[in-house]
């Protein structure tokens, strides 16, 4: 386990360095835009993995939290002129509160019932945004969300946003990683594996479940705050049930029981849906087919495949070196 953590840390550093130089290598604004979007979605999937993967509480309503984050921060910025970071903090508090509210009925539910409660939550949020026209501008949506400042710099180009999002995602990944590999993460996994047993061992199951919901909601809220300033506009169409489903797919396809899985899944599926654009009408047919194929043949997600690939490689390498030694004799 210790060695595993070392390699994990090392690969994280490598990924971070690679990520920092990406905008220098990618000149096209379109690619950067897609990468930025995937970065924002990564925050949501990170939260989903903590909630669904670690705690076993499946949510199909995360677009709701995402929407709350976007609208709260954007409305504060537009109507009260509050700077981005302050607005984002308020948005995080509000989404966290939403997470706690939905967690109360969710505590008692599992399986399909929990799924439906979260779907209901997501739909309620979308419908409120759609119908509360005086505040949310209804179907027309919000426009002219002001650009953010970061350390006194105005963030405006795709590259600026890349670094802003990169910093937030890196921080989010770090926190998620620390959480997942702490006592809290192990407790959450214990609840997933056997709630009753965890309860018997003295785990305050309900408190942890609420905490998982709140943390997960806060992640989606942060993604929402970034999304608002990044796209400059927001409408109820950005936060549908289909989006919630897409987030869940990213989490499961990547492998929802690891932190790396969230990142892998999000970038894979976001990239895939862009690549498949060339196929036009058949894009989503193939996308759906790939989803089905992946959940059947890679039940642990892409991260699971990579982990077993690593093991296989390590084994082969060990064999090789053994063989080398033998030959040297």
């Amino acid at each position: 386990m210790g060695a595993n953590n070392e390699t994990n840390k090392r690969s994280m550093v490598i990924v971070a360095i690679l990520a920092a130089v990406i905008p220098l290598a990618v000149s096209s604004n379109y690619y950067l835009h897609v990468i930025n979007l995937a970065g924002i979605y990564t925050l949501i999937t990170l939260g989903l993995n903590l909630l669904s993967g670690y705690t076993g509480q499946v949510s199909m309503g995360h677009a709701g939290f995402f929407a709350v984050g976007t609208y709260v921060s954007a409305l504060l910025a537009i109507s009260a002129g509050i700077p981005f970071w302050a607005a984002a903090v308020v948005a995080l508090v509000v989404t966290g509160a939403c997470g706690a509210i939905i967690a109360i009925p969710a505590m008692r539910l599992s399986g399909p019932y929990l799924v439906l409660a979260t779907v209901g939550f997501g739909e309620i949020i979308r419908l409120i945004i759609l119908n509360w026209t005086p505040v949310t501008k209804g179907a027309a949506g919000l426009t002219g969300i002001p650009l953010p400042n970061f350390l006194g710099m105005q963030i405006s180009s795709e590259r600026d946003f890349y670094y802003l999002i990169f910093v937030v995602v890196a921080l989010g990944t770090y926190i998620a990683y620390r959480l997942a590999n702490s006592k809290i993460g192990r407790t959450l996994a214990a609840i997933r594996e056997d709630e009753l047993a965890a309860e018997t061992m003295g785990v305050p199951v309900n408190r942890y479940k609420v905490a998982a919901f709140v943390i997960s909601a806060v992640y989606a809220g942060m993604a929402g705050a970034l999304y608002g300033v990044f796209s400059g506009v927001a409408s109820p169409d950005n936060f549908t049930f289909d989006d919630s489903v897409a987030f869940l797919c990213m989490s499961v396809i990547g492998g929802n029981r690891t932190i790396a899985g969230a990142i892998i899944g999000t970038f894979m599926l976001t990239g895939l849906s862009e690549i498949l654009r060339a196929l036009q009408a058949y894009r989503l047919v193939i996308y759906g087919g790939i989803l089905i194929f992946t959940v059947i043949y890679m039940p642990q997600g892409l991260a699971g495949i990579m982990a077993s690939g690593n093991k296989w490689l390590a084994k082969r390498l060990a064999e090789l070196s053994l063989f080398g030694k033998g030959a040297g004799k």
């Binding site: 409660a117 209901g120 989503l284 989803l291 089905i292 959940v295 059947i296």
Partner: protein
């Protein structure tokens, strides 16, 4: 009172879809998100039959149920059986059925395009008075066909060998295997029956709403809500849940606000889930520990 009556036809549709969710859930434990798209496929097949061969309503209904039932069997054998053999976690099964929904929705989009298609009603849509109330022959057709289908289903479940096997599997899958029931077959029967029920709902609803490639999403979700309100896996509960949801929606839309109608429905649903996790109409609470 009029709202109550208005809620009945849509309630009947929800009841059919709720039944289809419950039937699959109770036998194989699968939460099948592609049920709504079976409704959509049913409506499109009925529409295509009418458009190209001028097949009438009754024949269209039967053929469409047969075809979509076949699709249900294919889904069970090609997708859910391998998942079960690999003992995939439930969330993977959910994603797989969502994948089926995405695929079928977009195949329909590729074939029929994004425009809404009109499926003519076999009966008139002009309301006639019923005392102080009014109802259309169209609505009556929906309600009575749905009730007829439910009775047929009940008969099949109670009287045929396949139906009995299905109920046995629903009660205790493991014991059913020990008694020599072919669970794969009864899963296939459940999927076929569910898909066929969905297709029937699709044809019935087609003249009221237009036929579109994404019509399944809304109806499917509402059907699922109805199934959960009635207690997922509980057949009479699904029917009651469907009618209850239809009437509630009609009341909420008419009396409170049409924009917030669905929000009210979902808030009510969360309340039901919170207070009665095993469904509104289940007397015994069977919370598994």
């Amino acid at each position: 009172m009029q709202y109550l009556l208005n809620g009945l036809p849509i309630g009947a549709i929800y009841a059919l879809v709720a039944l289809s969710y419950s039937l699959i859930y109770t036998t194989s434990g699968v939460l099948n998100w592609s049920q709504g798209d079976m409704v959509m496929l049913g409506a499109y097949i009925g529409f295509a039959l009418f458009q190209f061969w001028h097949v009438g309503f009754t024949a269209g209904l039967l053929v469409s149920m047969l075809v979509v039932g076949g699709i249900g069997v294919v889904v069970q054998y090609c997708i859910l059986r391998p998942l079960r053999e690999r003992q995939a976690p439930p969330i993977n099964v959910v994603i797989a059925t969502l994948g089926v929904a995405i695929v079928s929705r977009n195949i329909a989009l590729a074939i029929w395009g994004p425009e809404a298609q009109v499926y003519p009603s076999p009966v008139s849509a002009d309301p006639f008075a019923l005392g102080v109330l009014s109802i259309t022959p169209q609505d009556l057709l929906i309600v009575f066909t749905a009730i007829g289908l439910m009775l047929v289903l009940q008969y099949l479940l109670k009287r045929t060998k396949e139906g009995k096997a299905l109920r046995a599997v629903a009660q205790d899958r493991y014991a059913a295997v020990l008694m020599g029931v072919d669970t794969e077959k009864s899963d296939a029967v459940a999927f076929a029956a569910s898909a066929a029920l969905g297709a029937a709902a699709g044809i019935l609803v087609a003249p009221v709403f237009f036929v579109t490639f994404n019509m399944g999403a809304g109806i499917g979700l509402k059907g699922f809500v109805a199934a959960v309100i009635g207690g997922l896996g509980n057949i009479p509960g699904a029917i009651a849940g469907g009618f209850f949801l239809g009437v509630t929606e009609s009341l909420a839309g008419g009396q409170i606000s049409s924009g917030y109608r669905d929000a009210i429905t979902f808030a009510l649903l969360i309340l039901v889930l919170w207070l009665r996790p095993s469904g509104l109409f289940l007397r015994k609470s069977r919370q598994k520990v």
